[in-house]
Every structure is written in C-alpha cells, then in structure tokens.
C-alpha cells in the first residue's frame, strides 16, 4: 500500500508539507492509508522500523508545544531517524539570529527535514522557498496546522468509518485557529459538511467565500452533528477584547453532556489539546465514551510517521526495506 502511494518522483504532495488546503481527496486518502499501516508499529513490542535510518529530523519550535513536538519526535524515532530539538530560548535565536539564518544553519549541519512551528503565519512557506531540505509545517500562526488536520481526518475515519456525508461542527476561536483553517479544507474536500460555531468576534472577515455554514449559537450549530470539534481558546483572548470573559464563553460555547444531546446520537467529540477544562469542555466526564481526544494523540504519531516517511523516505532499495504494510506490519 505504501509502495503504491509513494511515487519514484518524490512525495505525492511536493517536497514540503506546508498546507493541506490544496490536497486532493486521493492524496489525503493515500496519506491516511499510509498512516493506517504505520499504526501497527505502535502496537509492536519493538516500536521501530528502519525506513528513515541515517536521516536527521530537526524540530524547530518557536512556540511552546508538548504534544506536537513529542509526537513528531516519537514518529521520527519509530522510523529510526535521528531527532534534534531546537527551541529558540536555548539557541542563537535569542541572540537575534533571523529565522532564515537559523534554518540555513540547521540545513548546513546536515538535516534532511525540519519541522517548524512558528507564531508568524507563512513562516514555514517562507523558509521552504529558500532551503533544500524538507520543511514540515508544525503549525504557523493562524494559518495552517497540516498534521493536526490529517490526524483529525484519520481519527474521524477510524471512529466513524467514513468522512463523506458527515456533519462536523468546529466550535470556538475560528479567527485565530490554524486547526480550523486546515480542517475546513480537508473535511470539505473529503465530502463532509462543515459548520463553524463561534461568537461574531471570533469569525474572520471574508468568511463568506468559505464552503461552510456559520452559526453563532452552540445549540443550533451542533444540532444533528456527527462530530463536534472544540478549539482551544487562548486565555488572553478576553484581554484582547474578543470575548468579555472566559466564564461567559464557557457558558455560551462550552461543551457538556446536556448540550451534546442536541448532536447526532453517539457524536464524536474532538479537541486538538491541550484542553482548558471548564472552558471549552466542562469538567463532567459524562461523555467520555464520545471523546476522541486521546485517540487523536495516539493517531497523531502514525499520521506523522506517514508524513515523514512520504517526505523523506524516498523509494530506494535501502529505505523501502522493512517497510510495514497492512499485511506484514506486525511481523517484527
């Protein structure tokens, strides 16, 4: 399966993973299928395959992140790549080195790929235009978070068995959310109906051109939805004047067992994490059965393995050795 999807010419989505907004359903499905085959590796006693042996991946994170960075690190290590974590506070970035100089230095040190998380929208694309190594967008500003969207897609397909025909409500700070932007394009391309639920202050201007329906009231927005995806609310949004207070936000947009009764039966509740308990999701654990939050984390590793493999794996004799497929995955 993996071999079929990985063309000799290179990765099916170009040399970098910057955005999911132009990926075709075929490419998206191919990535999900590849991730499916890597899921097995995580269930083995020796959680490692040698497909990226000798390759070096650098995690360059300009924003704090636990789960995305660890997820990329575990994914790369399971593929036998060497991983270096560079965080700005410990490096020359604090001495005023520019982003492009930092990345060129990392490249000169021999990195094959670099995962960039950056507070500026467009920063990974800016870097990708200027280096030869593979650039993977680990989340840029309010723009894109490609691997999050892919793992969300994977989680929905895994838990619901399909994506086409589902109705998905994305609830929260759409304006500042790279998760929302990425998910809207992948979900609609895969045939889901997407609804956005947020106060008018957290809906971007110019949204009328997006293939979504906008709701301002949570009850109406999630009515009949198969999937309800809550976004993380940055706690400083109240200070920025976007919402009057966290408690008012929680009252109007917080998910709880009662409100989820409005959704379709057995809805899937998702959150990119980390959750602000009592803000986006209530303390009640009544809908724990519906929650996909930990599955998202687990599947995130497989999805990132798939992305790294497709980008950096090549299709040489050497690198394809020991690649698991659905049939042989559990052997080792």
């Amino acid at each position: 399966m993996i071999h079929d999807f990985l063309p000799t010419g290179g990765p099916p989505f170009g040399p970098h993973l910057l955005s999911v907004s132009s990926m075709s359903p075929e490419v998206l499905t191919g990535i999900l299928d590849t991730a499916e085959s890597f899921l097995e590796v995580g269930h083995q006693s020796v959680k490692k395959v040698p497909v990226l042996r000798g390759k070096t991946l650098v995690n360059l994170f300009y924003e704090s992140s636990t789960r995305t960075r660890s997820s990329f690190e575990i994914a790369a290590k399971r593929l036998s790549a060497d991983v270096i974590n560079v965080t700005p506070s410990q490096s020359s970035v604090t001495k005023g080195e520019s982003l492009i100089d930092t990345v060129r230095t990392i490249e000169a040190l021999g990195a094959d790929g670099v995962v960039i998380r950056h507070p500026s929208s467009g920063a990974p694309a800016f870097v990708a235009d200027r280096v030869r190594c593979h650039v993977i967008n680990g989340g840029d500003g309010c723009h894109q978070h490609p691997t999050q969207a892919l793992l969300d897609l994977f989680t929905i397909r895994k838990r619901k068995g399909r994506i086409k025909g589902l109705t998905v409500a994305i609830v929260g700070d759409i304006l500042h959310s790279r998760v929302a932007r990425s998910n809207i394009s992948t979900l609609t391309r895969m045939g889901a109906q997407v609804r956005l639920v947020a106060p008018p202050t957290l809906i971007p201007a110019g949204i009328s051109s997006w293939p979504v329906t906008v709701f301002h009231r949570l009850e109406e927005g999630i009515a009949g939805c198969d999937v309800v995806m809550a976004l993380r609310l940055q706690l400083e949004r109240a200070a920025g004047g976007f919402i009057p207070s966290l408690s008012e936000y929680a009252r109007l947009y917080g998910l709880n067992a009662r409100i989820l009764e409005k959704a379709a039966s057995d809805p899937l509740v998702m959150h990119p994490g980390p959750v602000n308990r009592g803000v986006e999701i209530s303390e009640e654990e009544c809908f724990v059965k519906s929650s996909a939050i930990l599955s998202q984390v687990e599947y995130g590793v497989s999805v990132r393995m798939a992305v790294l493999y497709l980008l950096m794996g090549g299709r040489s004799e050497e690198s394809s050795m020991g690649v698991p497929s659905s049939e042989t995955g559990g052997k080792e």
Binding site: S98, L99, I100, G122, Q144
Partner: protein, 435 residues
C-alpha cells in the same frame, strides 16, 4: 547613465506636450541656461549639444509628493543620491521627501542639512516635508515657521496619522500662517491593531491579521470634520479604499479645502498579490480588494483623487526577507510609477493628458512648487517618454538602493527614456539621447 552637461540643450524632432498650458506640438525644443528658450520651429544657433527626440514624447517632469529617501539615518535603505537616481530613472524631476528620518525632520537644522545634501548629490529637485509634531511623537507641534523658512513645503507625521483630533485641528489652523498643507496618513491605529494586510478573504485564508477599510475611513472622516472647523489645507496621503474616495468626493462637493493622492499599487494590484509576492506586497495602507481598486480608478477619473504619488519606501533585503508579520511596511515605487499609471491610459480610464496632469502639473500646483510646466522661460525639467516601449520592471536591476517591489519581472508598457532637470540630462536610458 548619468551625464553631466551644461544647461544648454537642443532636442530635435520631438513631440512635445503640456496638459497645463494646453501645448501640443512637434518640432524642436531649445534649452538655454537651464530654461526653455523656445519650442516648435526653432533652430539652434551656435554650438549646443543636440539630441534626437524622434519617436519620443517630451512632457513636464513628474513631481512626487510622497517619497522616503531615508537620509539622514537609514542610509542602508536609500540615500538622497540613490533615491534621486531612482527618481530620475522614473521620470521624476521633483521629489518631496517625508520627515520620518533619523533625526526626524522636525527642526530647521535637519531641513537645511537635507537641502544641502540634495544640492551636492541629488539629480532631482528635493523638497523636504517637515514633521507636524516633534519626533513624530504626536505631542508637541513643530516650529512650522522656522521649518517653512528653511524650505519645508508641507507638514506630515507620515508613517503615522496626526495623533489626535485636537493636534490635527491646531496643525491645520497654525499652518495657515504659512499657507502650507498638512498631509495626513489616515489610519485608526487602534482599529488596525496588529494588522499586517487588508482584512478580507485573503487575510482570512492566510491567517494574517487584517487591517479593515474602516481603519482608513474612520480617520478620513475625522480629518474632514476637523478640517471643517479648523480651515487650512488638508492633503490625504495614499488613498486606498472605496469609502475614503467616496468621503473625499463628497467633501470636495462641499468645497472643503481637501486634496488627495493615491499610489500606483492601489490601482495596479489587490490583496491577492500577497499570496505570490509576500512581504513585497506589504505596505500601509495595505493592498485592498477589487472593488476598492476600481473605486480608486474612478476617483482618478473624476478628479476626486488629485495626484498619483509613489510612497516610495525603500527597505533593505534583510528587512523584507522575514516572516510576513515582522517585515516592515512599504515598497519602492519611483521607477515603476509611470508605466503602471500608463496602463490606465492603455485601458481607457484616463487620457494621456489627464495622466501627465496628475503626475506633474497637479502635484506641483498643490504644494505651490514652480514646476510641472513646459513654458518658454520656465525651468527645463522634463521627461522623454517612449509610449510604445515594452520592458520588464527591475531588469537588470533598480537604481534605488533597495529592491522591495512586487512589480519586479512584470511586463510594462511605456518607458521613461530620458529625464532632464534644469537642462541637464540626469537620466539617459542606454544613451538614447547621446548614443
């Protein structure tokens, strides 16, 4: 390219044209001692330098009311010398330079220093614009009397709006003493917040913080209301939105003493350009949407917008080669302004006469500069254009010290072939005149 000559020149077989004087003809133009001696069926007597103007159009040199030459203080971006070279290459014989230098042009000493420097190195005529407030801090008015005496022809805190309604009122009132306009960069900074591009569908998709049209319009509305009580002369810089055009149009109908400029990028591009040109399409005000672009053209057509200025804003490569939200606002514009504007003529929006008027005569009149005319006895500041010449912007390079332009590589029509200031050839593309 640069050629030093005496102020005596004989241009043969040229089409000459001056919208202000209604002059249009074919023949020869004789320049003596930096001034136009005669035009038409004239012959040169004695040994003067002859140049062949065949196939070219001779018209008054362009006058830019809005440029940043960055000297003193930011000479790594541009200097008066390199800026004037860019001006000459773009057909601008006169350039008004903004006050946001370091030190700020808020004292007569700085004004004199700029003028002395220009005297030594500039190919174009340079007129300084003084700051409205000391240090551009928006707190205390500058000594406009001393600044006017030293040579400031207008006042502006450009880069920022005049800080408060009260400061604007006082500045408009006080500047009446010297009959100098106040130029305002109209922006509600509070509304713009951390915005870096136009707010709309493109910013929504790119995840970049938006600057709404209302940012400009709120400030234009404020300025017009204040103008009504204060009197004086208000010149609104770089108009970019349909709403602002509408308000200026309405104010002019009521005969308020307001004038306005726009820049070529606001009628040549929309915010879609941010997708492919990145930080080279980042300026303030930002590129707007198609509806605004068309309204700007409409404003130029009906005279609501008086002038095309460049807002030439050079920045070094290392400053523009950054993350979009960290890069500074601004693009260079002197060398591409005419050709971009000539598209308005090619597309039938303006006549050539109207275009030259908005690039030359009208701006000179607004700021009371004795320029922008082609009359016997007048200063010989003019440009020679080849309207059928196609070229590619930024190839092989720019005369400006900086290269921050979204137009680099763009196929353009209409080319400045030579520029003459005071009878001296300051720009001669590939030796067209003397080759």
């Amino acid at each position: 390219m640069k050629k030093q000559r005496e102020g005596t020149l004989f241009v043969k077989n040229v089409q000459f044209f001056d919208p202000a004087e209604g002059i249009s003809g074919f023949g020869n133009v004789l320049i003596k001692d930096g001034r136009v001696a005669s035009m038409g069926e004239v012959t040169a007597s004695g040994a003067v330098q002859e140049v062949n103007g065949e196939g070219l159009l001779l018209c008054p040199g362009f006058v830019d009311l809005h440029a940043h030459f960055r000297e003193p203080g930011f000479e790594y971006k541009e200097t008066i010398a390199t800026g004037s070279l860019a001006a000459a290459a773009g057909g601008f014989t006169t350039v008004c330079v903004m006050a946001n230098t370091d030190p700020v042009n808020d004292s007569a000493d700085v004004t004199r220093a700029i003028l002395e420097r220009a005297q030594d190195v500039s190919l174009a005529r340079v007129y300084p614009i003084g700051a409205v407030t000391r240090g551009l801090l928006g707190e205390q008015m500058t000594e406009m009397g001393r600044l006017s005496d030293a040579g400031c022809i207008a006042f502006s805190d450009d880069g920022k709006p005049v800080s408060t309604s009260r400061m604007l009122r006082r500045a408009l009132e006080y500047s009446r003493l010297f009959n100098r306009p106040i130029i305002d960069h109209c922006e509600d900074l509070n509304l713009s917040d951390k915005g870096v591009m136009n707010e709309g569908s493109v910013s929504a998709e790119l995840g970049l913080a938006g600057i709404p049209n209302a940012s400009e319009e709120v400030c234009v509305a404020r300025d017009l209301s204040v103008l009504e009580v204060a009197g004086g002369r208000l010149h609104v810089a770089h108009l970019s939105t349909a709403g602002a055009v509408r308000m200026i149009r309405e104010a002019k109908k009521r005969h308020l003493p307001v004038t306005a400029e726009t820049c070529p990028h606001y009628f040549a591009l929309t915010d879609e350009a941010v997708r492919c040109h990145g930080t080279h399409a980042k300026m303030n005000p930002p590129l707007r949407n198609e509806e605004d672009r068309l309204a700007i053209i409409e404003g130029l057509k009906d005279g609501t917008i008086d002038v095309i200025a460049t807002d030439h804003a050079p920045h070094a490569s290392h400053e523009k080669e950054q993350e979009f939200d960290r890069a500074p606002f601004g693009i260079i514009g002197l060398e591409t302004a005419f050709s971009l504007s000539f598209d308005l003529v090619r597309e039938g929006h303006l006549t050539l006469s109207e275009l030259i008027y908005r690039l030359s005569t009208r701006p000179a009149t607004l700021f009371g500069l004795p320029r922008g005319r082609l009359i016997p006895g007048g200063e010989a500041d003019f440009v020679l254009l080849d309207l059928s010449h196609g070229w590619e912007a930024g190839t092989p390079g720019y005369c400006s010290k900086s290269r921050n332009s979204p137009f680099t590589g763009r196929r353009m029509w209409g080319r400045v072939m030579a520029t003459i200031v005071g009878g001296r050839i300051v720009y001669d593309k590939e030796g067209v005149l003397c080759g």
